[in-house]
């Protein structure tokens, strides 16, 4: 039996005035997926998630959630979803527990034990009765995850849950996501603007740019597709090149890229190539395996930084 489709969008589009924030987006999230939704800033990730959580009305296209249509007026299927979109905001003058009570009331009430359970899961149990006003950004981010989990949903939607966290905090969130997926068998939809992050937790992913789907599929497959190459920085460079040219068994092709050599070869052969270089007295400074997807995504990100999102669609003002 093929896995159940938990969430599906068909030609999902959203236009703000003249600007398409999301356009003809087809996504498919299967049960048990950790689905990475990757895109540079302004790509349309949050806009998509707002539509998935019934906050905004699509300009066109459909959403099916657990095989039920989802619209602003018909969103019963959200019973099986928990999520957070954009920055984690709460009633700052109330405690974490009160905030969770308010959220719980919208699911018909959640008992105190469950609240403490999710707070413990995100490491906020001992601050449960403090006003959220006293929380740091990282703590709010974790409370955001806690409230998403409160109703024990089958699908958890998280919008850049690691943004603004320090590396330790990012790792904790990643571990939590892996725990939820593996031990609690939840389906997770996770947006990010960092490929490295998606790569670490997701099994499937989609890349979105300027509101449009670029590619969608299994993470491992996508990363392997296209060429793999290695950037080698060594001294003296000329000697290194001469040696590499002789290693035809490993090296498929080679070109110079500034201070480094771009060598098309399998990552499995890195140790053997390194050994040869070192034996010949070449000082190896760095060997960096690269994949074209990474380059590709990096290019997207840089492009969006220099153009601003959707610059091509409309040169008008950007949202601050």
């Amino acid at each position: 039996m093929p896995p159940e489709i938990v969430l599906q969008t068909q030609r999902l589009s959203k236009r703000f005035k003249q600007r398409w924030a999301v356009r003809d987006l087809n996504l498919e999230i299967l049960q048990g997926d950790v689905f990475g939704f990757l895109g540079p800033n302004g790509a349309g990730k949050s806009t998509t998630i707002r539509m998935l959580l019934s906050l905004i009305r699509p300009t066109s296209g459909d959403i099916r959630l657990f095989d039920e249509p989802l619209t602003m007026s018909q969103h019963r299927a959200l019973r099986r979803v928990g999520g957070i979109v954009e920055k984690p905001d709460f009633y700052l003058y109330l405690s974490a527990v009160r905030n969770l009570e308010i959220v719980g009331a919208l699911y018909g009430g959640v008992d105190r034990r469950r609240m403490m359970e999710v707070l413990e899961l995100v490491g906020l149990k001992d601050r449960a009765f403090d006003r959220v006003k006293t929380y740091s950004h990282g703590m709010k981010q974790r409370l955001g995850i806690a409230q998403a989990l409160l109703s024990d949903p089958e699908l958890v939607i998280l919008d850049e849950p690691t943004s603004g966290l320090d590396p330790q905090g990012m790792k904790e969130v990643r571990d939590l996501i892996i725990h939820l997926a593996r031990d609690q068998r939840k389906t997770i939809f996770l947006s990010s603007h960092l490929l490295s992050e998606i790569e670490l937790v997701a099994n499937r992913m989609a890349i979105i740019n300027r509101g449009e789907l670029v590619v969608q599929g299994e993470v491992s497959r996508l990363l392997e597709e296209g060429e793999q190459y290695v950037m080698i920085r060594a001294e003296p460079l000329r000697k290194a090149r001469a040696i590499l040219r002789r290693l035809t068994r490993f090296v498929h092709s080679m070109s110079e890229a500034g201070e480094s050599l771009k060598v098309v070869m399998s990552f499995d052969d890195i140790p053997a190539v390194n050994r040869s270089l070192v034996r010949s007295g070449v000082a190896v400074h760095a060997i960096v395996p690269r994949r074209s997807l990474e380059d590709y995504f990096l290019a997207l990100t840089e492009q969006s930084l220099s153009d601003g999102p959707n610059a091509r669609v409309s040169g008008k003002t950007q949202r601050q």
Binding site: R50, M72, R76, D89, E101
Partner: protein, 278 residues
């Protein structure tokens, strides 16, 4: 639904802003009433000098009821302003704090959330008017005691002490009705902006403009006046006429009620359809 209303009430009544109105009334009313006691009935004596020659008054006309009646003048503009602080924040406040994203992403229809909030707005309005009534009347009676009530209604009218309490009761019920209209209008403005200042300013602006249209001695405005809600902000005053002007009251209740219903209907329509971008 009860649970939703309960937690909306929790949100509202644990917010400092909610007590601003209570604080102001709680401070101003005692100050004014004590000041009136100290000043004594100087002003009222002037007004009743001619009557004094013809009648022998039973007790003083400068009493607690008179002061309580006088305090109700705050229902024209002051109390509406304080009401908008909370009513105007009901929906806009969630936008300001970004918490729409917390509550509208749930399997509850927006209609339910909307009416929970409106019910809490009604509760707040009622509690607030009740607070004003109990404080201003209670304190005035303690300070100055009971007696016949002197009011100005196309001349001087003296209402017998026996049925004054019942008239105040009716007056405050009518006052609640007009305050609910103000709250509903503020609620309406609250549904399409992202902070509470807009609704406060818009509601008060509308009230003041309408009040000007009502009092301006311009013939041209005459036909529209009965349809302006501000014309009926004095609904409570009709309870102090003799005989009580029930037909006026009926008309006022209908006009104010229509404004409330229209405001709530329109804000419901907006709220259940709008994109949440805050």
């Amino acid at each position: 639904m009860f649970r939703l209303v309960f937690y909306e009430a929790v949100k509202t009544f644990l917010k400092k802003r909610t007590y601003l109105g209570f604080l102001i009334v709680g401070v101003i009313v005692p100050i004014v009433e004590v000041a009136m006691k100290v000043e004594g009935g100087r002003f009222i004596q002037a007004a009743t000098r001619t009557l004094r020659q013809d009648f022998i008054f039973v007790g003083s006309l400068f009493n607690g009821w008179y002061v309580s009646y006088w305090m109700m003048q705050s229902l024209w503009v002051h109390i509406p302003l304080l009401i908008t602080f909370v009513a105007g924040d009901q929906l806009a406040g969630e936008a300001t704090s970004g918490t729409y994203r917390l509550i509208l992403t749930r399997p509850v229809t927006r209609t339910k959330i909307f009416f929970s909030k409106y019910i809490v707005t009604l509760i707040y309005s009622i509690v607030f008017v009740l607070f004003l009534a109990i404080l201003s009347i209670g304190l005035a009676l303690i300070l100055l005691g009971k007696g016949n009530l002197l009011v100005f209604d196309r001349g001087i009218l003296i209402l017998p002490a026996a049925d004054v309490a019942y008239r105040f009761c009716a007056a405050y019920i009518f006052a609640t009705w007009s305050i609910v209209t103000i709250a509903s209008i503020a609620f309406f403005f609250s549904s399409f902006v992202e902070n509470a200042i807009g609704p406060i300013v818009a509601t008060m602006g509308l009230l003041v403009v309408f009040l000007i249209l009502v009092v301006l001695p311009v013939e041209a405005f005459e036909p529209i006046r009965p349809y302006l809600f501000a014309q009926h902000m004095n609904l409570w005053q009709h309870a102090f006429r003799d005989p009580i002007a029930w037909d006026e009251i009926g008309r006022g209740i209908a006009v104010l009620g229509s404004y409330s219903a229209a405001a709530v209907g329109a804000s419901w329509w907006i709220f259940t359809r709008k994109d949440i971008l805050s």
